[in-house]
């Protein structure tokens, strides 16, 4: 080992972007080595798509015109909802449970004693969500096409919409996950706090139940939260134009989707900044 003298050369610390990228690699690897994350976050929407497609394959198409034309398979109808659910799980559920666990098992305390900046840590977490969420949606689409024969949109405009709804939605989810991680009192209670929230949102936001068939009050409650808007944005991408009329407002309302998601992104950012601590404050 080389010798250390009191006169240390002043070498710059690694920059926040380089560290953030290093954190992303570390976080993604850690995610795929955690069986809980892989099953309950990564594969869950794929499994649900499989169950829905198989269970309702006999019940015919959805949205068929009175003359028997049009309409899409149940699997095709539920695909956008499952993509939205994957975004919510990869962000909110994954990070809220993950960070609450890191807080209680001492990981954050250790990091707080190193020259790692909270910003680089955040970049790592958001990057992990972005990478795993992208792989997840890729897997969902591949399964949809190759296993269930669901046709994907071909117009570039639809994929443009997909790109911004996905990016905006997943970053918002990640920030809300970081903010929500401050709520559980311990790592062990984290799943008990987070999963009910995420599950209820999925049921009222048109992931597992057809949104236009929910009672109006439930639609209104769901409209306060981001998942309903992610699902709506994804329906605009993947469902035929004829389905636009089934939306409660009779339109995809993509402007409103963007507005609500940006609003929640700002809420998530502010809450994350205000609540994040390496360790719990002592009295």
């Amino acid at each position: 080992m080389s010798t250390v003298t009191a006169e240390r050369p002043t070498i710059a610390r690694p920059g926040v972007v380089a560290l953030g990228i290093s954190r992303i690699g570390y976080e993604v690897r850690s995610y795929f080595r955690s069986p809980d994350a892989v099953f309950f976050t990564f594969l869950f929407p794929v499994i649900m798509l499989g169950i829905f497609t198989s269970a309702f394959s006999a019940s015919g198409n959805i949205g068929t015109a009175p003359d028997g034309t049009g309409g899409i398979s149940v699997g095709a109808y539920y695909l956008p909802g499952m993509i939205a659910a994957g975004m919510l799980l990869s962000g909110v559920q994954n990070l809220a449970v993950d960070i609450a666990g890191e807080k209680s098992d001492g990981t954050l305390k250790r990091l707080g004693g190193t020259p790692l900046s909270p910003t680089a840590y955040f970049i790592g977490k958001i990057g992990q969500t972005l990478v795993t969420g992208t792989l997840q949606v890729g897997l969902l689409l591949a399964v949809a096409v190759f296993a269930f024969g669901i046709a994907l949109p071909t117009e570039p405009a639809a994929w443009g919409t997909f790109a911004w709804v996905f990016l905006l939605g997943i970053i918002t989810s990640a920030l809300l996950g970081i903010a929500l991680s401050a709520v559980p009192r311990s790592g062990r209670s984290a799943t008990a706090v987070v999963i009910p929230i995420v599950l209820v949102l999925q049921f009222i936001s048109g992931v597992y139940l057809q949104f236009n068939q929910l009672p109006e009050w439930m639609q209104n409650v769901a409209s306060l939260f981001p998942l309903k808007w992610m699902a709506q944005g994804m329906r605009a991408v993947f469902l035929p134009e004829s389905f636009e009329a089934l939306e409660p407002s009779g339109a995809w309302d993509l402007g409103l989707v963007a507005l609500v998601l940006v609003g929640w992104l700002v809420v998530g950012l502010v809450l994350s900044r205000l609540t994040f601590r390496w360790i719990r404050r002592d009295a």
Partner: protein
């Protein structure tokens, strides 16, 4: 890097009248000490005495209620990332799940620091070469503790905090660890150590402070702590009737000669014992407990006489 800490002769740690209160309870109550550059300083004391609170204030994890603290010339409550890059922290316990391997974890942490040590050298220094590619979650408790130590030194710290570093080590690992610490010390690293193993403190440190009930009850060089009286050797033997005898003596050789002459032969079960740091430490803590809980008579007993009495009994 901020440079108001410039002069190399300043102590690396300077604590003056440190206080930490939780409501009415004073966990730390007026503690003062310095650690010089290159020195290994042991902070000793029973559980709950205020050791960890003091260390965590120095590390910047806790705020203080009163007093002045400077670590590498900087107030820890205002210590930024440049300051943290000069510290190495080995926390008391960790419960991390750790699904990175040893080498992945060290390589990752090395990337946080401006001038890290070589990952391979650090893995070798803590004796984990054979486990380098094993996930940390699959290691034994003692092996994980070695990873903690490795992460503490990977950034080439000027000041290393070691909070009960060898808990869970087998005797051989503890010896290896001592060798590593001596090597770091030889390279100029200043070290603040807490430990319940008094032989470890005696082996590694230059000076020690004993903390009890939130106050520093003794501080000094490791071979002077407790005062000269506490270090007087004890001669033990069995007299003609076979009864155990013991006497403290500044001149044990003369004492042994006198006993031998008196007995007219070799004394049975003869021993000359120098009180260990552990004996001295226990005497100090016992005297403090007596002083803080007992009446005036107990309070008047000095630590050194209490130790002598205990040894004589």
């Amino acid at each position: 890097m901020t440079t108001r800490n410039a002069t190399p002769n300043d102590p690396v740690v300077r604590v003056r009248g440190l206080e930490k209160r939780y409501g009415d309870l004073a966990a730390v109550d007026g503690v003062s000490f310095d650690i010089e550059r290159g020195e290994t300083f042991a902070l000793l004391g029973p559980n709950g005495a205020g050791k960890s609170t003091t260390i965590e204030i120095l590390e910047g994890y806790r705020t203080r209620s009163g007093g002045d603290v400077s670590v590498l010339g900087i107030d820890p409550t205002r210590g930024g990332l440049d300051w943290k890059s000069r510290l190495g922290i080995v926390l008391q316990s960790t419960g991390e799940t750790g699904n990175a391997t040893v080498v992945e974890q060290l390589r990752h942490f090395a990337g946080f620091y401006p001038n890290p040590r070589s990952v391979d050298e650090v893995i070798a220094a803590v004796g984990l070469q054979a486990k380098a590619k094993t996930r940390i979650s699959k290691l034994s408790g003692g092996q994980r503790r070695r990873v903690d130590v490795a992460l503490g030194i990977i950034g080439r710290p000027e000041l290393l905090f070691l909070d009960e570093p060898t808990t869970g080590f087998d005797p051989e690992s503890r010896r290896d660890f001592w060798t590593l610490i001596r090597q770091l010390k030889a390279e100029g690293t200043s070290i603040l150590l807490t430990t319940h193993y008094l032989d470890e403190a005696a082996q590694l440190s230059d000076r020690a402070g004993v903390i009890a009930g939130g106050t520093l009850i003794e501080i000094g060089a490791i071979d002077e702590i407790g005062g000269a009286d506490a270090r007087v050797p004890v001669v033990r033997w069995r007299d003609a009737s076979g009864a155990p005898r013991s006497v403290q003596s500044e001149h044990p050789a003369a004492t042994v000669a006198a006993i031998t002459a008196e007995l007219g032969g070799e004394p049975r079960e003869l021993e000359v014992i120098r009180p260990s740091l552990e004996d001295i430490y226990l005497g100090l803590v016992k005297a403090h407990d007596a002083a803080s809980t007992g009446g005036a008579a107990a309070a008047s007993a000095t630590p050194s006489t209490a130790t002598s009495q205990e040894v004589r009994s």
